[in-house]
């Protein structure tokens, strides 16, 4: 899984994920997970940037209010956790399938 360190949020590039897209049996399950994951990643980035912006303007003294920044940070944090959980599930599913012996 390639991780891009150059951007503010931790990004896991979805293109690297579906190595298991080979077999047709998995592709339907992969579609659902993949889409959810892509959505999650997109959200993480947006919320992360928003939180970043609000905290910065709070520190600069006067734009955002403390509670705005807190809420933005919490939302970003939760969406990141959500994304991690989804990713874990995808990896688990892949490993289960890859581990099957015929």
């Amino acid at each position: 899984m390639a991780i891009d360190f150059s951007s503010p949020g931790l990004r896991i590039l979805p293109a690297e994920l579906p190595q298991a897209a080979a077999t047709p049996a998995e592709s339907s399950a992969e579609g659902t997970f993949g889409e959810t994951l892509k959505e999650a990643v997109g959200n993480v980035e947006n919320l992360g940037l928003d939180a970043h912006y609000k905290v910065a303007s709070l520190l600069q003294g006067g734009g955002a209010d403390v509670h705005d920044a807190m809420i933005a940070v919490e939302k970003a944090d939760l969406s990141f956790q959500l994304m991690l959980q989804v990713r874990n599930k995808v990896v688990q599913a892949y490993q289960q399938i890859a581990g099957m012996q015929f």
Partner: protein, 148 residues
């Protein structure tokens, strides 16, 4: 609307009320001062309060822009400290060193009761604004609770 601006607003009020108290105290202390460096009796001092502009125009503008990033200041400041030009009280005391040719001494036109009332008013307002500072502090601390 930033909660941090509250400290500035209340701070301005604390400052203004303190000056008001100082002026009242000074007037009280000098209620019987018949001779000053400028000659003549002590002149009562008064001060004026002005609110720092939070004009309707500003409010309307902020409202129509929708973003409203610049909250109106809305604090208070002391406009000026002026001398009261009420003519001094004349009392007939021929033996007094500051008596004029007719034996009258000029005393400052200060009513101690009025100054006391003013002083108490300043104190009460000061307390109010001090608790406003506490309120602001509490609210900001509470918002930190959002993150546990």
């Amino acid at each position: 609307m930033s909660l941090f601006s509250l400290f500035q607003i209340s701070g301005s009020a604390l400052n203004a009320e303190r000056q008001r108290a100082e002026v009242a105290t000074s007037n009280l202390a000098n209620a019987e001062t018949t001779r000053t460096a400028e000659g003549g009796p002590y002149k009562r001092h008064m001060l004026t309060f002005n609110s720092q502009p939070a004009s309707q125009f500003h409010l309307l503008l902020a409202d129509s822009l929708g973003g409203g990033n610049t909250p109106p200041r809305g604090g208070v400041r002391v406009g000026s400290v002026v001398e009261d030009n009420t003519p001094p009280l004349q009392r007939y005391e021929p033996g007094h060193p500051d008596a004029d040719a007719d034996g009258y001494v000029s005393y400052p036109a200060i009513n101690p009761v009025q100054e006391m009332v003013d002083l108490m008013g300043a104190e009460r307002s000061y307390e109010l604004n001090a608790s406003a500072v506490q309120a602001a502090k509490q609210m900001i601390q509470q918002s930190l609770q959002i993150l546990k």
